[in-house]
């Protein structure tokens, strides 16, 4: 029989069981959800897309590992969050950028934005978007000038001198040239991803597929993406530019400029979005309003990246303002208590 006197018992606090999901499985799900868009990028732009993404991922891992090593902090690369950042950053960069350049973005994203604030869960701006913003600020020409045209075949793996470039749909829309836009890209092209743009943002369809996977896996909830996309849809339907048809302009708007990528993968980033469902709705609407505002009035055609980063900054305020109603206290009493 068992020797009960010599059991090695650990008396930790309850609960004694935990759910199967952990940070790593969640990040793995996000990676899986991005695969369709990555494969599409390879199909459209060639192997350069894969290599650029791989370089970015490795860069992020090395920077995270190295920083924590130098600072003598416990290693965290196992949680896969650096991999997610690496892929996301590649997704928002032009495929024809030089490989070394993305490492600069990786460094900024991982070291400056994430680790200097304490690592996962502590940064208040989405690292991938901040990395992109840093690249745009430093290398404006490469980052927002020439976009490889997926309709003109693959981008060479080495050397990018003779890349055929095309204007992105947003550039047409910015200038109000709807005729030019519709002749260049059909709505179907936009939806499937036969358009110019950054590496992982072009196929609205495949990004939606990935987003639905994340919702199904309960990694994200629908609140942020639905609020975000719906806000952009309503505004662009109501106020089309360049005398375009309402529905047409709306469709072009929501299928372009990485809105799907932003709504499903960037605005839902745990660390930089509100923790309550109501807060997430507010956050999504805010992102939508700012995106349209920037696209309409900004000096720059693309609005998703900056709108999410701006909203990242007010997350703390949203979390302060939106609290769950206290259990056992009826609404009116809650209000009275607040008024006191």
């Amino acid at each position: 029989m068992t020797d009960y006197k010599n059991l090695k018992l650990i008396a930790t606090s309850s609960p004694h069981i935990r759910a199967a999901e952990n940070t790593r499985t969640i990040m793995l799900d996000v990676i899986i959800a991005m695969m369709p868009a990555l494969i599409w990028a390879i199909v459209k732009f060639g192997f350069r897309a894969l290599i650029l993404t791989a370089v970015s991922v490795i860069g992020c891992i090395v920077f995270e590992w190295g920083y924590r090593k130098i600072m003598k902090k416990p290693q965290s690369v196992n949680d896969l969050s650096a991999v997610v950042t690496g892929i996301l950053l590649a997704f928002v960069c032009p495929v024809n950028m030089p490989y070394w350049m993305i490492l600069v973005g990786d460094f900024f994203a991982i070291v400056v934005v994430k680790q200097l604030f304490g690592g996962i869960g502590k940064n208040f701006i989405n690292p991938a978007l901040a990395g992109r913003a840093a690249l745009v600020a430093s290398y404006a020409g490469t980052m927002s000038g020439a976009w490889a045209d997926p309709q003109a075949g693959w981008v060479p793996v080495v050397g990018t001198a003779d890349v055929v470039t095309a204007a992105t749909p947003l550039a047409y829309m910015k200038s109000g040239d709807m005729a030019g836009l519709t002749s260049q890209y059909s709505v179907t092209d936009m939806f499937l991803g036969n358009i110019g743009g950054s590496l992982g943002e072009i196929s609205a369809l495949l990004l939606i597929v990935g987003g639905l996977y994340l919702i199904w896996r309960k990694v994200i909830s629908w609140h942020t993406p639905v609020a975000y996309i719906a806000t952009v849809a309503v505004l662009t339907f109501l106020f089309p530019k360049g005398g375009a048809d309402n529905v047409q302009f709306m469709l072009y708007s929501i299928f372009s400029g990485g809105l799907m990528l932003g709504a499903f993968f960037m605005a839902t980033d745990y660390t930089t979005s509100p923790v309550t469902k109501t807060g997430q709705l507010i956050f999504g609407v805010g992102c939508g309003l700012l995106t349209v505002f920037i696209r309409y009035f900004g000096s720059y055609p693309e609005g998703v990246c900056y709108s999410i980063m701006i909203m990242n900054l007010v997350v703390a305020l949203i979390d302060k303002a939106v609290k769950p109603s206290r259990f056992g206290v009826v609404k009116s009493a809650n209000k009275e208590a607040a008024a006191k």
Partner: protein
């Protein structure tokens, strides 16, 4: 279907290991160790000393203030009255009885002549003398709950949710002893003067629901069984009241504040037994399960039976067992030693040898918000954790930490494996200490002022 409560989690219920196993009677133990504190309230004073002869059902511990008496669960000789380890941590004065295996019943145990002719006062008196407490684990004295609830309570609820994984004692009771449950429910209806008692049962126990419904139909009993959604913590008192009445217990309040009183299945059976046979609480049904147990079982044994007897009856523990829990996996207490007895609130003994807890070395909150969406008390665990770890008492109060019922749902779901619930136990203590210190300071100040005034006179 009943209404829902907000939040909650769906742990794998692990009940298949024991839910088809009938309740077995454990071979009588040679020794029982009966702790003098098995209820919410002050410990009892032992009424016996070493060398005394005791019989089953004889009162051996008297309570003071809030509490319930304690009775001998076997007949035999008192070997010692001394502090022994028990499941709530530390040592407690206990009466150790050598079993003489005669099962002599004490003269104190007298069945009422006609249970149905008893007045409410007489019934409450019997419940009190029978030492009945909340057998689900809360161990609040039942007679106090009844007396303080009479007149206020319009909905009497019997808690058959049994939402903690692994535990199947209540489920087996529904299948094997439905008439005791329904009989007890009828007495409760009479005591509270209500025309209907609701039994809430999670809908994963359909055969238990059917068994009780059959008895209800046969006896035309004023009882209804309400199937509830299967979700932890459905069996929390506040969640159960919410699911059945749609009302929420106010902060710091009791179910009685919204006209509810909740009794556990086994408490109800104990009431039935006390009122029909006069037998106080001397036996307990315990689920013995978990990855470390060779052959999981439901066992009925005398109160005070050493846990090792139960484990032996289940084939012992597997090698590498590192955790022994008294109670369920979500709220039960991990034990330092197997040398503890079964108490009135011990519904389960679990042993784990696999990494059920899935601990990690450096938990880092990733702000996923999952803890917020599962907290049945509408709290924001991630923020409470920050405040508690920094000792920010005021912020903890503002975050309503005292509403936390330590259900463990947030820790369970947390993908970063933060020790949230544990931190809230500490945090609540901080808040209480601060409040006590404030009170003491205020009193000291008042005293000093009074002294000054007196001196001035």
């Amino acid at each position: 279907m009943a209404q829902a409560f907000f939040g909650g989690v769906h742990p794998h219920d692990m009940k298949a290991a024991t839910n088809e196993k009938a309740i077995e009677q454990l071979a009588p133990p040679a020794v029982v160790v009966i702790p003098m504190s098995m209820h919410f309230g002050a410990p009892c004073t032992p009424l016996v000393k070493a060398g005394d002869h005791v019989k089953v059902g004889q009162k051996i511990g008297e309570f003071h203030g809030l509490g319930a008496p304690i009775h001998a669960s076997v007949s035999g000789t008192v070997k010692a009255v001394e502090p022994r380890p028990y499941s709530m941590g530390g040592n407690i004065m206990s009466v150790v009885i050598d079993n003489d295996f005669q099962d002599e019943v004490s003269e104190e145990v007298k069945a009422p002549a006609d249970p149905n002719a008893l007045s409410v006062e007489e019934m409450v008196e019997i419940v009190k003398n029978a030492g009945i407490v909340g057998m689900g684990g809360a161990t609040f004295p039942t007679h106090v709950k009844i007396t303080s609830g009479i007149g206020k309570v319009s909905t009497v609820i019997i808690n058959g949710a049994e939402c903690e994984p692994y535990i199947t004692g209540d489920h087996r009771t529904m299948l094997e002893r439905p008439e005791e449950i329904i009989g007890g429910a009828k007495f409760l209806a009479k005591m509270f003067g209500v025309d209907k008692v609701v039994i809430g049962v999670e809908d994963n126990k359909q055969n238990g629901i059917d068994a009780m419904n059959k008895v209800i139909a046969e006896q035309k009993a004023p009882v209804v069984v309400e199937p509830l959604r299967c979700r932890y913590p459905q069996g929390g008192e506040k969640q159960l009241c919410q699911a059945i009445t749609g009302r929420q217990v106010p902060p710091g309040g009791l179910p009685a504040d919204i006209g509810c009183a909740v009794f556990n299945i086994n408490t109800t059976c104990a009431i039935y037994r006390a009122l029909t046979t006069g037998m106080p609480v001397v036996r307990k049904i315990v689920t013995v399960s978990g990855s470390g147990v060779v052959e999981p079982k439901n066992l009925e044994c005398p109160i005070g039976t050493p846990v090792t007897n139960l484990l032996d009856a289940c084939g012992g523990l597997k090698d590498g067992t590192f955790k022994l829990i008294a109670g369920g996996p979500m709220m039960g207490m991990a034990q330092y030693t197997a040398d503890i007895p079964v108490a009135k609130g011990t519904g389960a003994i679990l042993a784990f040898c696999e990494n059920e807890e899935k601990t990690v070395e450096n938990p880092q909150c990733i702000r996923c918000g999952k803890c917020v969406s599962v907290c049945p008390m509408h709290l924001e665990p991630l923020f409470m954790y920050q405040y508690a770890s920094k000792g920010m008492v005021e912020e903890l109060n503002d975050a309503h930490i005292m509403d936390c019922m330590e259900c463990g749902a947030c820790s369970y779901i947390c993908p970063a494996r933060m020790h949230l619930t544990h931190m809230f136990k500490t945090g609540k203590q901080l808040v209480k200490d601060k409040a006590a210190a404030d009170r003491a300071a205020a009193e000291a100040k008042k005293k000093a002022e009074e002294a000054k005034e007196a001196a001035a006179k």
